[in-house]
């Protein structure tokens, strides 16, 4: 069994193992002053549940450090002029038509466009002291899934929510981290999960894998997407009218076709 020490402080849990430190910090949502500041900085309305001070970080003795936080993830949300036209809620057309009939068309003032689904391909913030420690594309390496399927003991497990928004009850957009550390390796999943009711499902996954004793960190990013209708039709009939499977990102993930994926590798300098 690897030598390790668990870390448990106020709001922080984590582990020291080999030359690594894994930390997860959980605290309350931002207060209104912090939200005002973040809104001004990002230029978009902040998700309803914003855990802006939460983070997951991994740090190696060599100076490599990768952190996962909500605000840098939100900074990557599309704010171009067309960004809010890409996806509309299911009843948007009906809404606009009825609105014209009700003589409300004079309200043309639309809130500054942004991708209101908070879709973000954020895959971590590299805080390495050594600026040469960067991920670069690879075709020769990949995450060892078979290794991860082994029921090895788990030294440390944690799940952390970075932000969550119900899209005014039109669905869910949620960004979470999960980490598990085993004697031989660690594995992280950063997942952006989006459900727009009656419109679509989307999952952006980032997976980080390191096998202790090697000098590489592998990062795999993938996107999955499918229509709501197609996904809903895959609910087993025995579930009747119960749609709660659609809330389970693991189940949805297993039903969505992969659209893109990319593998990158980072080489650690000798500690």
């Amino acid at each position: 069994m690897a030598m390790h020490t668990l870390i448990k402080e106020k709001g922080i849990s984590g582990i020291n193992v080999h030359d690594w430190t894994v930390l997860s910090h959980k605290t309350s949502i931002l207060n209104s002053q912090e939200i005002d500041n973040a809104t001004n900085e990002l230029g978009i309305p902040i998700p309803e549940m914003i855990f802006g001070n939460n983070f997951l970080s991994i740090e190696h003795k060599s100076g490599f450090k990768l952190e996962f936080k909500a605000l840098p993830a939100l900074a990557m949300v599309d704010q171009s002029s067309k960004s809010s036209d890409l996806i509309k809620v299911s009843y948007a057309r009906e809404w606009f038509e009825k609105r014209s009939m009700a003589n409300q068309e004079h309200i043309t003032d639309v809130v500054k466009p942004y991708d209101w689904t908070y879709s973000t391909k954020y895959n971590g913030t590299n805080l390495s002291t050594d600026k040469s420690l960067v991920f670069s594309p690879t075709t020769s390496e990949s995450i060892d899934i078979e290794q991860l399927k082994k029921p090895d003991p788990i030294l440390f497990y944690d799940e952390n929510i970075l932000f969550e928004d119900e899209l005014a009850d039109n669905g869910t957009a949620v960004l979470t981290t999960k980490v598990r550390v085993m004697p031989s390796c660690f594995f992280i999943l950063l997942r952006f999960f989006l459900r727009v009711d009656d419109v679509l499902f989307r999952i952006y996954d980032t997976r980080i894998y390191h096998r202790f004793g090697t000098n590489t960190v592998i990062r795999e990013c993938s996107t999955r997407e499918s229509s709501y209708r197609e996904t809903r039709s895959r609910i087993p009939r025995s579930k009747g009218g119960d749609l709660s499977l659609l809330l389970d990102s693991n189940w949805v993930s297993s039903q969505l076709p992969e659209k893109e994926s990319q593998v990158e590798v980072l080489t650690l300098s000798q500690a």
Partner: protein, 352 residues
């Protein structure tokens, strides 16, 4: 059998669910009662105003502890009683009983979650199925939702609503003539009242980038209050860390009453006590001890009434072998191998 409301209320305070047949009767009677209520109910201070509860029943019990019990304290609830929390059934049951028992001292306004469509996705439907083994109770309550009033006015001074204002509504009288006895539509004034949000950075109405729904600004609030001779708008609908928020030069308040929302937000909550001279006091509180350690197993426990059966939690909640393959392996589906094993601790820890 004669309906004994006090006994029902007592057993709910003891965390015991009512029988399905009792819920049916209570909902029927409450519908009759609500049918005669206007879309704008007028009440007098003192009254204690409660924002979103979202099935956090233990925190609702805390509210009664802090704010006083019925009928000693008059209550105005601003909607969003269900979904998200683990005890929507208990919350709706007790609020409905209290409304029926003390119709002039308890007011229930409709929130956007008091809807069939929304509750089917956000938890209330699933909870009813788990606790009663059928969707009947969900049907009784969601039918009742259609009868809830849309707004309350306190002493002709404070306009209270779940969400906010609508570009189609300039006067209180326009609300009075609306047909509210239906599912909440996607658009129109009824939708706006339960959905819209204030935007402190604006003056007028603006269309949400989602493609439906409005935000409203300072001039809208000012015009509405002036036109109707009132001095304050009181609403719920938006989570805030501090439990309340006051905007537009003290012309609008948001009250939020679900502490540690979803058992993880760490936020405070408040109830707003409106005094006989219109003075407003936010009574801020933290999560009840039971909130801190929510126990899903407890939530799913068979809290059945006398006719209950224990089969509610049956289907679908099993893990099977840790790595039961179900034919998915290799390639892009590798990461889906654990899907379906969504409940067991092992499956959670061994995510891929």
């Amino acid at each position: 059998m004669v309906l004994d409301l006090d006994a029902c209320i007592d057993s709910l305070f003891k965390r015991q669910l009512l029988a399905e047949s009792v819920i049916r009767e209570i909902c029927e009677k409450t519908k009759e009662l609500l049918m005669s209520e206007s879309n704008v109910v007028h009440v007098s201070a003192p009254v204690t105003v409660v924002g979103d509860i979202h099935g956090q029943f233990y925190d609702l019990l805390e509210i009664f502890k802090i704010g006083g019990y019925c009928p000693d304290t008059n209550y105005l609830f601003l909607g969003d009683y269900v979904d998200r929390g683990l005890y929507s059934v208990e919350t709706m049951s007790i609020l409905t009983c209290l409304k029926l028992r003390y119709p002039d001292r308890v007011q229930l306004v409709r929130g956007n979650h008091e809807s069939r469509a929304v509750t089917q996705t956000y938890g209330f439907y699933t909870e009813c199925m788990k606790k009663y083994g059928s969707a009947q109770v969900w049907h009784y309550f969601t039918d009742l939702f259609d009868y809830l009033t849309l707004s309350v006015v306190i002493d002709n001074m404070i306009f209270c609503v779940h969400g906010g204002l609508s570009p189609s509504i300039h006067t209180i009288d326009q609300i009075k003539v609306m047909d509210r006895f239906k599912e909440i539509p996607h658009e129109g004034p009824m939708a706006d009242l339960v959905w819209s949000d204030p935007d402190p950075g604006r003056e007028e109405f603006a269309v949400s980038p989602r493609g439906a729904g409005y935000t409203f600004g300072s001039l809208v609030v000012e015009k509405f209050l002036h036109e109707n001779g009132m001095d304050h708008i009181l609403r719920a609908h938006q989570l805030c860390m501090e439990g309340f928020q006051v905007l537009f030069d003290d012309q609008l308040s948001t009250v939020w009453s679900a502490p540690n929302y979803c058992y993880r937000c760490g936020n405070l909550a408040s109830i707003l006590e409106v005094g006989i001279h219109g003075e407003r006091h936010f009574n801020v509180f933290e999560a009840a001890p039971e909130n801190e350690r929510p126990s899903p197993t407890e939530a799913q426990r068979s809290l059945f009434g006398s006719n209950g059966n224990g089969t509610g939690t049956g289907g679908g909640l099993n893990g099977g072998g840790m790595f039961a393959g179900n034919g998915m392996n290799g390639g892009s589906m590798a990461y889906a191998a654990l899907a379906g094993l969504d409940s067991g601790q092992d499956a959670i820890h061994y995510f891929l």
